[in-house]
């Protein structure tokens, strides 16, 4: 038995997938979800083999939802975005269906997935997609994190700095700290480079939070932030921050 979850904020868009799936008796629909929040819960609960996922959804989009899941399942995106926007993951094994899609196109995507299912592990493909910089439909102006069973949306301007922490990063805001399973280079690439600077192997800093830079030892410096936190600057980090600030 193959379990799938459908996540789309338009009921009619889900109903067409449901209809097309009727010719695959080995597939059962574990749950239908209206948004990413329901999606995260449903995936945790049902551990589906495959997810049909819309991209533009309320509050958090499809990419952000996947970021919240430790072991993302295989995904087939269903979206009305044009090809340009999804070119970034065209080369991945993960397929995408452009709305409106025909039954033939749908079955082709599903057959492809069924064939590849036993050969290589799809899950790691979803993982690679997410660790690489995907061309997001919107500019990245927020980061979505999980906090226990809650989902929090942090506007990027509230971020003080980001610190590397094994396989995770710690995201510091004025009062709180959030853990997220991501790499430093992911955020270095996806956040606005004129605002967020990699000042150290283990630190990315928000320039808007900077109050002052003080010398620490010979050739090393430390940045003081509005919250009072201190962030060390490496030699190359100091050069980089100076060039971004135009000094």
């Amino acid at each position: 038995m193959i379990k799938v979850v459908l996540i789309d904020d338009e009921p009619l868009a889900r109903s067409i997938v449901k209809e097309y799936l009727q010719t695959f008796p080995e597939i059962t629909i574990a749950q239908e979800c209206n948004d990413g929040f329901e999606g995260v819960k449903a995936i945790a609960q049902h551990k589906p083999d495959l997810v049909f996922l819309d991209i533009q959804m309320p509050k958090i989009n499809g990419f952000e939802m996947l970021e919240l899941i430790e072991q993302p399942p295989s995904v087939i995106f269903t979206t009305a975005f044009d090809e340009y926007a999804i070119k970034a993951f065209e080369s991945r094994a993960i397929d995408y269906l452009l709305k409106p899609f025909s039954k033939d196109r749908f079955e082709k995507a599903l057959q492809k997935w069924l064939q590849q299912r036993n050969q290589n592990d799809q899950k790691s493909n979803t993982q690679t997609l997410l660790t690489e910089e995907v061309r997001q439909p919107e500019e990245r102006n927020r980061i979505v994190v999980r906090e226990g069973s809650n989902i929090r949306i942090i506007p990027v301007h509230e971020i003080q700095y980001i610190e590397a922490y094994d396989d995770y990063v710690k995201i510091f805001t004025q009062k709180e700290m959030f853990l997220k399973k991501k790499t430093m280079s992911f955020y270095e690439k996806s956040l606005d480079g004129s605002q967020f600077v990699r000042v150290h192997r283990s630190y990315i800093m928000n320039l808007q939070q900077l109050t002052k830079i003080e010398p620490l030892e010979k050739e090393t410096y430390v940045a003081l932030l509005k919250s009072g936190a201190k962030v060390p600057l490496s030699k190359s980090g100091y050069v980089r921050i100076k060039s971004v600030l135009g000094l």
Binding site: A13, K59, I153
Partner: protein, 358 residues
């Protein structure tokens, strides 16, 4: 040197034609000096020194008077009815020139040349007429010149306005025919075609009517609020097929606003923004409210949508394409204050004011 700063914007001449005018004027002027001097030498047998001094002095005065005429015409363009004023003005200048010339030449230049002084006295009427003729000529040429410049500038302004309007038309078409909206609607139709063919057919009809209304309307056209709301309703009906489980709309149209006018297709992009903002920024059911009213001879339309103030910062513009509507209003009314947005708790308000023809 004439500086562009002094010239009113509408009359700024291209540098090359200004230069050409200057060269033509100066050569004409030099030629006149020579002809006059030559005439005095041959007809009245004066020496070249006297003839040239007289001629240069006279023509310098004419040039000064001509420059005054040219400059005043640049800033003040009399219409055909004011010709009397122009005539008086040119006669006064001619008299002043002639008298000044007589006194300058007669004061202490060539005291021994009695013949010349006689000639100076005898020729003043004729001189006056000649000077008047020259000044009038300069006046008429300047007037025609500035009139043509003004006309050309006016034509250019008109062309620019038309071009901007066309751009706005394209922009607003793009805005209305959001591919995202179109493809998602087609997807809904595809879903309905299998299970509820009648509803699919109905939605195709709605979508066609909506698209037809969008395409055929002239961007410059002014419609009544009643017509605009009718077109908007088509759009809302389609969105309700897609989001009926979450989307509610309330239109509160006061009777006295229904026949007020507004530029066609203005509301739909604003409402689309509100719906997108409301649907994607919150979870659960949302209500979009459209309220019309009138005040100070203006039609006022308010569009309200809920949002989440905790995660959204609409002030920083989170991609709400209101700018093209703003630009269109600017093109039509030359005002930037007709579209405004503000928030009341968790409600985001877009307000548009349309001045009514008096």
């Amino acid at each position: 040197m004439l500086t562009n700063l002094k010239i009113p914007l509408t009359l700024s001449l291209p540098a090359t034609s200004k230069k050409r005018l200057l060269i033509a004027g100066t050569s004409w002027w030099l030629l006149l000096i020579l002809i006059e001097a030559y005439a005095m030498v041959t007809t009245f047998s004066f020496s070249w020194v006297i003839a040239l001094t007289d001629s240069v002095n006279m023509n310098l005065l004419i040039a000064a008077a001509g420059y005054i005429t040219y400059t005043s015409l640049r800033y003040y363009q009399p219409n055909a009815k004011n010709y009397l004023y122009l005539t008086v003005w040119s006669i006064a200048l001619a008299v002043m020139c002639t008298i000044t010339h007589r006194y300058m030449m007669g004061w202490n230049l060539f005291p021994q040349e009695n013949e010349y002084h006689k000639f100076l006295y005898a020729s003043q009427i004729f001189r006056g007429l000649l000077v008047w003729f020259m000044i009038s000529l300069i006046g008429v040429i300047s007037w025609i010149w500035f009139f043509l410049q003004e006309q050309r500038a006016g034509e250019k302004r008109e062309q620019d306005t038309l071009k901007l309007a066309r751009e706005a038309e394209l922009a607003s078409l793009r805005q209305q025919l959001q591919p995202h909206f179109l493809f998602n609607s087609l997807n809904s139709i595809s879903a309905l075609a299998g299970s509820k063919p009648d509803e699919a057919r109905k939605m195709i009809q709605q979508l066609s009517d909506f698209l037809r209304g969008t395409i055929k309307k002239d961007d410059q056209q002014v419609v009544t609020l009643a017509e605009e709301l009718k077109h908007l309703q088509l759009y809302l009906d389609i969105e309700k097929v897609r989001f009926g489980h979450r989307l509610r709309t309330e239109i509160d149209k006061s009777e006295d606003t229904l026949y007020l006018t507004l530029p066609s297709l203005l509301l739909q992009p604003l409402v689309e923004n509100a719906i997108k903002f409301g649907l994607y920024d919150t979870i659960g059911e949302i209500t979009i409210r459209i309220i019309t009213s009138t005040q100070d001879n203006q039609l006022i339309i308010r569009i309200e949508n809920p949002f989440d103030p905790q995660t959204s910062h609409p002030k920083h513009g989170v991609g709400f394409g209101l700018s093209s509507v703003q630009r269109r209003l600017y093109l039509l009314y030359a005002r930037n204050d007709l579209l405004s947005t503000f928030q009341i708790d968790d409600v985001f308000v877009t307000e548009v004011k349309i001045p009514q023809p008096v």
